[in-house]
């Protein structure tokens, strides 16, 4: 292997320097925090309350719970996924390609690995924020009182890392913002429909159930929904392992691709 390939495929160099990138993004976010939080919350809340109460009254119990409680767990995961995805696609692309913020950072003693790690953890932080806000609303509406719901907070971080890493893989390829439409149309939207956000996976034909079984959102919901219903999830370690596997593989892939894009 030549030295270029060696550099591109090198294992991630993780360092606490990522915190400088995280703090930079946090400082920007803080300036726009209120509209940003409201914007992040409005969409999932409308779906959850509109469909939950509207459609829910027409339905009997779903998997032994009222439909809105069923949907609430899906909404937490969906919203957590979306926050990290938008951050890793549009916002990171704008910092990488449009504003050249990364180029500015790379002229200092920061490495590209520090930048990418900072971006993934930042995207996951946005997920924690969205997920947490919805959990608090769920508590406030009395949809769940289980103390096990506290476990959802660390899980939103894991889900955020998963979708932040996968999003950065797309960003590494993207020539322009328009490119991200493919990801939404081909990956995110099918995942929302297949992975049990709105209805149980068991309603799907067997082939689709099989596909759903390998998608990360299914495993996120597989953890969050039982916790909401005051159960410890079956085979929780398997769900955690799948999410962590996607996060690790996605992070490494995005790092390799971004190195190739920026360090040639």
């Amino acid at each position: 292997m030549n030295s270029y390939a060696h550099k591109i495929f090198a294992p991630p160099q993780l360092s606490r320097r990522f915190a400088h990138v995280w703090r930079r993004n946090f400082l920007v976010w803080r300036k726009l925090a209120i509209p940003s939080v409201l914007g992040n919350l409005a969409d999932p809340m409308l779906y959850m309350l509109g469909l939950g109460y509207g459609l829910g009254t027409l339905l009997p119990q779903v998997d032994g719970t009222p439909y809105i409680t069923f949907l609430a767990a899906g909404t937490v995961c969906y919203s957590t996924m979306n926050s990290a995805t938008f951050e890793a696609l549009y916002s990171a692309f704008s910092r990488m390609h449009v504003q050249k913020t990364w180029d500015a950072i790379l002229n200092t003693p920061m490495g590209l690995d520090d930048v990418v790690l900072g971006e993934v953890i930042w995207a996951a932080s946005k997920s924690v924020l969205s997920g947490a806000a919805i959990v608090i609303i769920i508590w406030a509406l009395g949809l769940s009182h289980s103390p096990l719901t506290l476990w959802i907070f660390p899980l939103t971080l894991l889900i955020g890392l998963t979708f932040g890493s996968l999003g950065l893989v797309m960003t590494a390829f993207a020539p322009s913002y328009d490119f991200f439409m493919y990801y939404f149309t081909l990956v995110i939207t099918p995942m929302v429909l297949l992975c049990g956000v709105f209805f149980p996976i068991a309603q799907l034909p067997p082939l689709f159930q099989y596909v759903a079984g390998v998608l990360p959102l299914t495993h996120a919901i597989g953890l969050v929904r039982p916790l909401m219903n005051d159960h410890i999830p079956n085979a929780w370690w398997l769900h955690v392992a799948v999410l962590a596997g996607y996060a690790a593989a996605g992070f490494y892939a995005s790092l390799v691709l971004i190195r190739r894009r920026l360090l040639s």
């Binding site: 030295s3 270029y4 550099k7 320097r17 400088h20 703090r23 930079r24 400082l27 920007v28 300036k31 504003q99 050249k100 913020t101 180029d103 500015a104 950072i105 790379l106 002229n107 200092t108 003693p109 920061m110 490495g111 360090l263 040639s264």
Partner: protein, 301 residues
């Protein structure tokens, strides 16, 4: 300060840097000149360890590049060709956040900011948003940002491209101050007056090679006749073919203008007196003449 030995770089099969040698001495201002696409920016990226050379050796502040590039960059300030200030931040926040990338404590950075703003002529603008700054102000802020870590070496990629004359002169004056304070500067430019004013030494780069280097005076003395007479007007062509050719060492015609290069300006000027239809300008040869002679007059895009 910075040493490049036999450095080569390929993009796919195309060689963009073809075995260059460079050595920067402490305290000097060194200019890398060349037309667009000559390989100047790639050379800077190689020197900073942002791109790996395919052959050759690079040392930046006594550290091996790219192996120890991060450590070396602690003592380097970089002004990129295109401003990449953070549009979401104020002037103050831009400097603060940038200083953090060097691992500097907020208190230390904050204590340096008033002086940096004064240097950049941005006193009282600490809380201004970036969008409200003029092009010249942004450039000066970028320069101040490159100084936030109090670097030993400044790497400036086309520091005054796109600025109006007032803004350029202000940047030049600040760069001279920095050299006077003992900073070493490596800059790229395609403005020859800029190089002539600022640089102790220059190297002319074309198609990935250094084709000449030395002080601006040496380059002029070595490469070109000392006097230039530019002749304009409808009759310039006829003059060049008759009198011009016999009295000038070298004649070039570009569009409507005849450039006459000579050792003996008086003899040339004598042939131009009493010719009403000819206008002319007599001047000393400058670095631009050398540059055009060495790199040709073809357009580079």
């Amino acid at each position: 300060m910075l040493v490049l030995r036999g450095v080569r770089k390929f993009y796919d099969a195309r060689e963009v840097v073809c075995g260059i040698d460079l050595e920067l001495k402490p305290g000097e201002c060194f200019g890398l000149l060349g037309p667009n696409g000559a390989g100047k920016t790639t050379t800077l990226r190689l020197a900073l360890g942002l791109s790996d050379p395919d052959a050759g050796a690079i040392h930046l502040l006594d550290r091996n590049i790219p192996r120890h590039a991060r450590e070396a960059r602690l003592r380097v300030g970089v002004l990129p060709q295109l401003d990449n200030l953070d549009p979401d931040f104020t002037v103050f926040e831009n400097l603060l956040v940038y200083g953090r990338y060097f691992g500097l404590a907020d208190a230390l950075i904050s204590s340096r900011i008033p002086e940096l703003l004064q240097f950049a002529g941005l006193e009282g603008r600490a809380d201004s948003r970036i969008q409200t700054l003029s092009g010249g102000m942004k450039r000066r802020l970028s320069l101040a940002r490159a100084l936030v870590n109090d670097p030993d070496l400044l790497v400036l990629d086309e520091p005054t491209t796109g600025l109006d004359p007032q803004a350029r002169h202000l940047i030049w004056e600040r760069l001279k101050q920095l050299v006077a304070r003992g900073k070493t500067i490596l800059l790229t430019t395609h403005f020859m007056d800029e190089a002539e004013r600022l640089c102790d030494r220059v190297a002319v780069m074309d198609n990935g090679r250094i084709i000449a280097d030395g002080s601006p005076r040496e380059l002029i003395a070595r490469n070109i006749e000392p006097e230039v007479v530019e002749v304009y007007g409808d009759a310039a062509d006829a003059w060049a073919r008759s009198a011009g050719r016999s009295v000038c060492e070298r004649v070039e015609r570009i569009g409507e203008t005849v450039f006459c290069y000579t050792q003996d300006d008086e003899r040339v000027l004598a042939t131009l007196e009493n010719t009403e239809e000819l206008r002319y300008l007599h001047r000393r040869a400058n670095l631009e003449d050398v540059f055009l002679k060495l790199t040709g007059r073809d357009l580079r895009d």
